[in-house]
Amino acid sequence: MTASAPRPAAVAPQPGRRPGAAAVLEVAGLSVSFEPKSPGSEVVRDVGFTLSAGEVLALVGESGSGKSVTASAILGLLPRPAQITSGSIRLGGDELTGLSQRGLSAYRGRRLGVIFQNPLASLDPSFTVRNQLGEIIRHHRPGLGSGARNELAAEWLRRVGIGDADRVLRAYPHELSGGMRQRVMIALASLAEPAVLIADEPTTALDTVVQRQVLDLLHEVVTTRDAALLLITHDFDVVEHMADRVVVLRDGRVVEAGVRSEVLQRPRHPYTKLLLSSVPRLGAAPAGAGRGAAQPGADAGPPPGTGSAAASEGNPGGTGSADAGRPGRVTSGARTPLAGPADPADLTEPNDPAEAADSERGELLTVRDLTKTFALGGLGTGMPRREFTAVKDVAFAVRPGEAYGLIGRSGSGKSTVARLIGGLLPATSGSVVFDGHQITGSGGAALTRLRPRFQYVFQDATSSLNPRLTVGEQILRPLRRFGLAGRGRAAGRELLEEKLALVGLPAELGGRYPHALSGGQRQRIGIARALALEPELLILDEPTSALDVSTQATLVELLLDLKHRLGLTYVFIGHNLALVEWICDRIGVLEQGALVDEFATDDLYDDTRAEETRALLAANLSTRKAGTP
């Protein structure tokens, strides 16, 4: 797959930007180190940029790029051992480096405001909103009486789009939704009308739908007051949506800087190019190679394995031999609808005619009326007992060779559905039938025998690997359990090499412990471990959401490639519509535990889509860019 070219940045709302305006924030030659005494240990090196009034500057980079440390340094909030080793930070012409905390406090709030990433944590949980806003107002405007303070607070809440300001003022943070809290946070940071607002990943923790509202609000708040915004983000969609100028950081250094359109459309630095190409784009998928040719014909029953687009990047090392070693597996993807009953004898016969019918209809996985209820509180917890229905009456089917996407906002129940399908969680009611065999409610032994045929890849690769075992052991152990490991140490080593090669990892990684691997490598191990049992169905529970965008891209390509080469069937859980569109043939949309929409990926933009689907679509920043001039 080649990088999908960034959509022409439609002319973003051009706020009152005065190109020649004086720089309100100038950062020059900034270096920060956690070990100031050892040279070369800087985590931020020689970073410089300027920010003018009315301007939005995005500081972009992946984790570890130093963007957050840079922001902390500007704020004078570096954690204790970290120090600015060189450079200058000028705010409205005043040098901030070298100022004491007391000296800095004169600038804070009044001239420099911050909005943090996690709205759930950036308000003090112990005080009401009124108290917290009041404290800020009292600090900046000590003369104000309490009535006037309340009035001002309420006014600001209304300004950030909170209708019932009185209720919100009385509320504790936990009583507000995430989006609401971030609005309060914006009000709080803007109260003193600072010349520069720094927003550190302000929407990362928010749902896509809310994310867009908050970004728009932020933009409005900043530009109407002719303030400047320094936006810290890893998300190019956000950059594209918000920024006037962009600074790209990598390993603490600026790799590229410039006007947004320049950087996004004509990136000069290869790293920027890589990042941009890695961003999944809505609507880009059909043009790209990812989803494969199978997709259009999905409804008619897939001819799996015939995908034309083998992964463009290929598999680093050894893939060929791996495939050669298991010729049968390649064709297994092309299993006929009747393959279920014909499968190896160790599987139980379908006992239910209806289930047999499922497999005859060509469904590898059939979900019927699936419901899951959790009990909360109750005896001894000091909380009243209540029930919470995470999933209700969900039904769908997945055909062999298909990639089925499940998408929804956080809390929509998509992960619960995944875990129910994966047999990791008992269902409250309803059934999950895999290739004619009941997964729900089936006993331990029967389920265990079935397990090698459907595998699960977890969202958090770190957590899904046992930290005390070498990754090799973790891959081989299930093989031994099912008698697939062969005999002798050499056989094991060979097998391991093969499994690792499948996901593009060198064999020597097998001897390592998970903590010695990078995030991307860990997820590859997670996939290798799942694939080692040679399953037909892979349940992918947001496998890339914890990864940086560039890592995500390579991983997605690996998944697509594996699917084609091994003829796998996927159930892919995601919250990023673009990513799901990229990977999946069909998509189901969950809203509050119910499946509200289901469609072939090509029909995503259809007018017949459910409201929730359209909301998700509308919230996507790149879509809006695409749709609105």
């Binding site: 956690f34 070990e35 985590v43 992946e62 570890g64 957050s68 922001a71 909030l77 570096l78 954690p79 051992p81 943090f116 990433q117 996690n118 759930l120 944590a121 949980p125 936990h174 990362t204 923790a205 810290i232 390993d251 959790f374 009990a375 909360l376 001894g380 000091g382 919470f388 809390g411 875990r419 994966g422 047999g423 990791l424 331990g444 265990t448 397990r451 595998q455 699960y456 977890f458 958090d460 770190t462 957590s463 899904s464 690997l465 046992n466 930290p467 005390r468 152990r477 299930p478 359990r481 412990y513 903590h515 990078s518 995030g519 860990r522 471990r529 799942a530 049992l533 914890a546 890592t551």
Partner: protein, 336 residues
């Protein structure tokens, strides 16, 4: 900073902390080294007390009582019976260490077993065990010791049982929290998904992840229990005279403090302190050495335990000030 690993969803992005600094590690190494040397010296001299001790610890010589430290033949002086203090301290190490180690080992095994059962049992049994542990947790140990001493005659067994009562709830909670935390890790579900059975998950997946914590925790407890046992002996419900025991020696020495013979109580007290510190340091060191994972510190001490099924959505702000990676020393402190 090279690790592009996982960005925990809720973690603050503004303040990425670097990994442990090398200088601290050498500091730790030095600490562990000192601790090991102290423990080795004390353990070896206790084991070989008959060979090492210059005098019989019970041999009294009334003619030479209260010899000050540095007297010829009596490096640390003599006590009210004219017994050699150094020899008594060396022999006392046998009693004091043995009691502490046996008590901690016993409590660790029982406490861990309880916790693991609770961790893997259904809510009813688990609740029963952990609520019982809760009740035991803050219950004044001294009352238990008093009751035990009333039931049996005062002696080492009373001390060991009292320590067990004191320590089991701590161990159980630590291990339970640890088991819970491990059970919450996806690798357990991964193992289920990969066809592992209950026993396999317990013994081959979770236990290896918990044992280190148990060992580290137990190690750090030994020191505290040396101290606690010494206090019990000092108030007369522990080791009885004339057996050489540090707590006993403190109590004996306490009788002559006002007469000006401070050192009789001073040396055994210092010994208790030094050995306890050494075990603490060793525990800290072990934690660093054995911890292949970069995981956060000791588990929560709050009594409500886990938030339950909805714990996934609990915001960080509500989690309280524990579980922080920067906890120095064990967060769980046992009374002494």
């Amino acid at each position: 900073m090279a690790d592009l690993a996982t960005a925990p969803k809720n973690a603050s992005r503004l303040v990425p902390l670097p990994g442990r600094r090398p200088r601290t590690v050498t500091g730790r190494n030095l600490q562990v080294g000192v601790a090991l040397v102290i423990i080795a010296v004390v353990v070896l001299s206790s084991v070989f007390a008959p060979l090492v001790a210059p005098h019989d610890p019970l041999l009294s010589d009334p003619a030479s009582k209260y010899l000050p430290p540095g007297s010829p033949g009596h490096l640390l002086g003599t006590d009210d019976q004219g017994r050699d203090l150094l020899s008594r301290i060396i022999w006392g190490g046998r009693t004091s260490l043995l009691i502490a180690v046996v008590a901690v080992a016993f409590s660790t095994v029982v406490g861990s077993a309880l916790a693991i059962v609770a961790g893997f049992a259904g809510p009813l049994l688990s609740g029963l065990i952990m609520r019982t542990v809760d009740v035991m947790f803050a219950f004044p140990v001294i009352i238990v010791a008093v009751a035990l001493a009333a039931l049996f005659a005062p002696g080492p067994s009373v001390v060991i049982l009292a320590i067990a009562f004191a320590v089991i709830p701590y161990v159980s909670r630590v291990v339970f929290a640890e088991v819970k935390q491990q059970k919450g890790q996806d690798y357990v579900e991964a193992a289920v998904s990969l066809g592992a059975g209950h026993a396999s998950i317990l013994f081959r997946e979770v236990l290896p992840n918990v044992t280190t914590q148990i060992i580290v925790y137990a190690t750090s407890l030994v020191g505290g229990m040396v101290v606690f046992a010494s206090s019990l002996s000092a108030v007369g419900i522990g080791v009885q005279p004339p057996t050489a025991d540090w707590g006993q020696m403190i109590a004996t020495g306490a009788r002559v403090v006002i007469s000006g013979n401070l050192y009789v109580a001073l040396f055994p007290g210092l010994m208790v302190l030094i050995v306890a510190l050494a075990f603490n340091w060793l525990g800290d060191g072990l934690r660093d050495v054995l911890d292949v994972r970069q995981r956060s510190g000791a588990p929560s001490r709050r009594k409500t335990g886990d938030a339950g099924a909805d714990g996934r959505d609990t915001p960080v702000g509500a989690a309280g000030p524990d579980g922080h990676a920067d906890a120095s020393g064990p967060a769980e402190e046992v009374p002494r």
